[in-house]
Amino acid sequence: MNITTERFKETARQELANAHTQKFLQILPLRLASRRDSAYQSFPDPETAHRYGQAVRDESIQRLPELLQVFETNAITNGARVFWAEDSRAANGYIVELAKRQGVSYVTKGKSMVTEELGLNEALAQAGIETWETDLGEFITQLLQRPPFHIVGPALNIPVEQIRDIFLQKGVIDTPTTDPVALGMAARRFLREKFRDLQMGITGVNMAVAETGTVINVENEGNIRLNKSSPRILVCVMSLEKVVPTLADAMHMLRVLCRSATGQAAGAYITLDSGPKRSDDIDGPEELHIVILDNGRSAAYQDPKTREALRCIRCGACLNACPVYGKVGGYPYGWAYSGPMGQVLTPALQGLGKTGDLIRACTLCHRCKIICPAGIDHPSLLLYYRYKDVVGDRALGGSGTGWRERFVHTLLSVAGSDHRLWRLLAKIARLAANRFRSGDRIHSIPNGPRGWFSSRDLRALPAKTFRERWAQMDQKRN
């Protein structure tokens, strides 16, 4: 998919002016967040469950190279075929080639952010292979050709009238309706046809279990289960950080994942696949292909700090907690991953060249860090990226900084190390700012912080600093 991370501010402005987006954002993230909070209360000890999940992800990432090898060995023993894809091109190439070799004319897909990352649908289309998204939300965004608005609910923001219109246009329904149930049933009927003679299904992976070689998917619509059980060939695409050590670890991660994502104790369908159909199985795919995607992750792994972004389990809880996401929604983040998880993951994979706004579009409120079931310290990571960007770090593709900003911070640090100079600077700043006062307010400063004054005043700076007032208080006392 197209990366538009560098247009964050522009897209954010559009979304802030979009009345529908704003109305929607007033309701949904808050509702999801409160559902998550109450679901967590169903743990006997929520805080311990939270920390246990973080510990599982900690171990998973620390042991990542070894766990991946164990996973591969066990998956192969189970009869799966494992393909290591270095980048999107390799992954798409493998899948397209497989589809062509098998002579399939179309594939179905379960919702997966990793295939959004790959731009797999576009790659298949170029090879003349049709793709049908089978998750209702993803189906809608596919028909509308929109990027996902939320990693858990890609079409959460689409008004029902728009769904009606596109369904009519694409022949999913014949008679107009805005009844959500009727629309859902129509999509189900439409997609059921695609499953009937399905040759090849593609899904993402929520978790891969090293000790058993199992891939696990969580969903609420049953479409992933159909994707996995009805075709002759099943392709499961996983980004390489999805592995966990044991089945017991996976069970705990499912508990925190479902609670964090949708406020459920468990998703309606949780599917575990250990290899393709065996001779005594009644159904299942004849071939199971597991594509393990790197796409910059090994490089990110080299740096113990950026490695932290790989802990993410894609629950989306940080999106619902984030004040910035809560105002601008998912589009400004410009790639498959939005909200705080996108802000830490996208720069790790894409570098800092186009993500300068992404790493700064944060007030450092820490809510994401507190809510994260994987134990990511997003604020700390964003501060690290900012540092790497300012110094023009080569590995991350930092772009350095303008002379003006550098001058300000150099001046701050020089003056701040000598309190006499600091006082002088403070005095100059006060005199300069107060030149623009009207009464006791400053409404704007020419060539000053325009963004600040676009909606806020500043009170005229007081004649005496605290230090000067302290000297007087001190004198009075003695």
Binding site: K327, R360, H366, V390, S413, A426, F466, W470
Partner: protein, 249 residues
């Protein structure tokens, strides 16, 4: 009697010095002896948050030199306390000598309300002030320092004061330092929301523990809702004990 070293953030020193004065007044009321190092400048928060670590280190080293012999370091700013208490160690993570000095300093730095409630063991200042108050949970204070019960207990203890419910009390006001300027549209949407929740709460005053939030929220109120007031917890509490403090002087 505790001897308190005042950590007055640069923003308070230059822009909001009355918060510093209120802090002194409160500490005097609590029988603490305040000291103030006139050599203090800026903790480096802004440089650190902007990615200028080399510059932030220089400021942090200056801060540590100035404060490292003090036993109780108290500041009326959650975000600056978080910087010194938690971020300094991150800033010096590859410098064992300065890391150790930052690590050593960390447990001695306290946010004002936390110091009063947790370390002085005082939850009631004995003041009186007739007002309906809403409390804004500043992000650094709440999420980074875990301080929330303390300021609310202190507000509740004031005779004649009613602490009212504030919708979205723990949602960011949109300040975020340079964020407020460089992402002005998003920041404005957030501060507008905060102001609206404040107006809806029916409170007379919006009280908080961070001068950054205060600058932002008051700046927005001044422009769009003149006459409505936000103020720092220290100011609110100092106002409630007005007379007794004068007697004590």
């Amino acid at each position: 009697m505790k001897r308190v070293s005042l950590f007055i953030p640069c923003l308070v020193d230059m822009v909001l010095p009355h918060i510093g004065e209120s802090t002194v007044k409160l500490l005097r009321h609590l029988d603490c002896e305040s000291t103030y190092h006139p050599e203090q400048t800026c903790c480096g928060l802004m440089s650190f948050n902007s990615g200028f670590r080399k510059e932030a280190r220089r400021l942090a080293q200056h801060f540590i030199r100035v404060f490292e012999n003090d036993e109780w370091i108290v500041s009326p700013s959650g975000s600056c306390v978080n910087m010194v208490k938690n971020r300094y160690m991150e800033l010096f993570d590859d410098d064992p000598v300065w890391f150790a000095r930052a690590h050593d300093l960390s447990p001695r730095v306290h946010e004002l309300s936390q110091f009063i409630v947790d370390h002085l063991g005082v939850e009631d200042l004995g003041g009186t002030r007739h007002a309906k108050v809403a409390y804004h949970e500043s992000c650094s204070t709440l999420n980074a320092l875990g301080v929330s019960a303390q300021p609310k207990a202190l507000i509740r203890s004031v005779r004649g004061t009613e602490l009212v419910e504030l919708t979205g009390a723990d949602i960011c006001c949109g300040f975020g330092g340079t964020f407020a300027n460089s992402f002005a549209d998003v920041s404005t949407a957030l501060v507008r929301q905060k102001a609206q929740y404040f107006l809806d709460s029916g409170a007379d005053l919006l009280v908080m523990c961070d001068p950054g939030c205060l600058l932002n929220i008051q700046g927005y109120l001044d422009r769009h809702h003149p006459g409505r007031r936000a103020l720092h917890l220290a100011e609110y509490l100092a106002g409630s004990i007005g007379e007794k403090a004068q007697v004590a002087t």
